[in-house]
């Protein structure tokens, strides 16, 4: 790969997605982009760079972007955030939203859907307790490929074994050869759409809970800050934000502060949720 092509690929993906690829990533770029070049009948990476520079082929740009994303995800990733959702966040929402009985949850950067579907299964497990309530779960990602897979809800044996309790597999999946298909009743609880986190949140509406996990790590400080500030605007004043295990708001934005006693969850600074005394959290089983 020519150095100027390498630099061009890095710049293009940075502008398009925020993904920062350092000089040590030339191997990654080669191994991910060579199949894209082949699929589009381009002779190699220099031909790919030329075609991208001409900027005429939307499909090519899309495939280029998809190929450079890291899409790893699993059901109930890290366990704890989902326990907290069930035991802390959900009980609070059932109190604070008792009049409207409407809750909107956003899995921003949802990848192949495991995060959104884990939440859907948790809600399903609540059974009659949520009768009369409307829970809307929206999953978004920049990558077409992962959204198509999320929508299909079909997972490999390997994917259903990382994090998914066996009882849930039995209850909510149908076996189809060596694949596992998630039940329609769970798939119906989630809507997937394409959304680039670098864009304005217009059209998405206001959310009560935002999961933005394991994606900010790929961005530079400024991009992280800008994304978090837009999320802050799209979050209800007493809403909750989840970040991934290696992510934080500290030093990135002042809009959010950690929810005391609940690692990984953030509330808007000086908001009601942040001000909840820990005793309340204990009372609901934290």
């Amino acid at each position: 790969m020519k150095p100027e092509d390498f630099a061009y690929f890095c710049k293009l993906i940075l502008d398009r997605s925020g993904l920062v690829l350092g000089p040590d990533k030339s191997y990654l770029i080669e191994s991910r982009l060579t199949p894209v070049a082949r699929r589009h009948n381009l002779g190699g990476l220099d031909a790919l760079a030329t075609a991208l520079r001409q900027n005429k082929d939307a499909k090519l740009l899309r495939d280029f972007t998809d190929a450079l994303m890291t899409n790893e995800s699993f059901f109930f990733r890290d366990t704890k955030p989902f326990d907290q959702f069930r035991e802390v966040v959900l009980p609070r929402l059932l109190t604070t939203r008792a009049t409207s009985k409407r809750v909107r949850i956003w899995s921003a950067a949802c990848s192949t859907g495991q995060e959104a579907y884990s939440l859907a299964m948790i809600l399903k497990e609540q059974g009659a307790k949520l009768a009369g309530w409307t829970f809307e779960i929206v999953g978004t990602d920049i990558s077409h490929e992962v959204l198509a897979k999320a929508q299909a809800g079909v997972y490999t044996q390997f994917e259903v074994q990382r994090g998914l309790p066996i009882q849930f597999l039995v209850k909510y999946f149908k076996q189809d050869g060596d694949k596992w298909q998630l039940a329609q009743e769970i798939r119906n609880m989630v809507q997937f759409r394409e959304f680039n986190l670098l864009g304005e949140l217009t059209g998405l509406g206001t959310f009560d809970v935002v999961f933005c996990r394991n994606v900010l790590i790929y961005f530079d400080q400024k991009t992280k800050g800008a994304i978090l500030e837009r999320i802050a605007k799209g979050l209800a004043p007493d809403g909750f934000l989840y970040l991934g295990g290696a992510e934080t708001v500290l030093g990135v934005t002042e809009k959010f502060e950690p929810l005391s006693g609940h690692r990984g969850i953030y509330a808007l600074t000086n908001s009601q949720s942040a001000a909840q005394p820990p005793a309340f959290a204990r009372a609901v089983g934290a």
């Binding site: 074994q161 994090g163 066996i166 597999l169 039995v170």
Partner: protein, 121 residues
């Protein structure tokens, strides 16, 4: 240190599983079939059991039913680990008292995820 009994008729699988579980700080015991496993449990009840299904002498599901009938046999957390990967087998295992179920092939991530899900790590 928690103990784990690995029950599998394949020496290679026992070795691979042992290596992974030792890495997760388990003290390991091994058995090549359900009968030997049952005898081991009668002597020392382990905290966890990683259990194959198809084995000579006594298979995994018969072992599990016998174990759950023993004094103190409700305590160990049992994780099936088998090539049987259809819903019917999984359901049968759960109703016989299995806590988790791994479909082979497995790797260290899967073992770790499953063991932590049922509170073993």
């Amino acid at each position: 240190m928690k103990s784990c009994l690995i029950v599998d008729d394949s020496k290679v699988i026992r070795m691979v599983a042992r290596r992974i579980l030792e890495g997760l700080q388990f003290e390991i015991m091994e058995a090549a079939d359900g009968k030997i496993a049952l005898e081991t449990c009668l002597k020392t009840m382990p905290d966890a059991i990683l259990l194959d299904w198809n084995m000579p002498v006594m298979n995994g599901i018969d072992f599990l039913r016998a174990l759950r009938g023993l004094d103190g046999g409700a305590a160990p957390r049992v994780v099936f680990c088998t090539t049987e990967n259809d819903l019917a087998h999984i359901q049968e295992a759960i109703s016989a008292g299995a806590n988790e179920y791994i479909m082979k092939p497995f790797d260290s991530d899967i073992i770790e995820a499953k063991f932590s899900q049922i509170g073993l790590i």
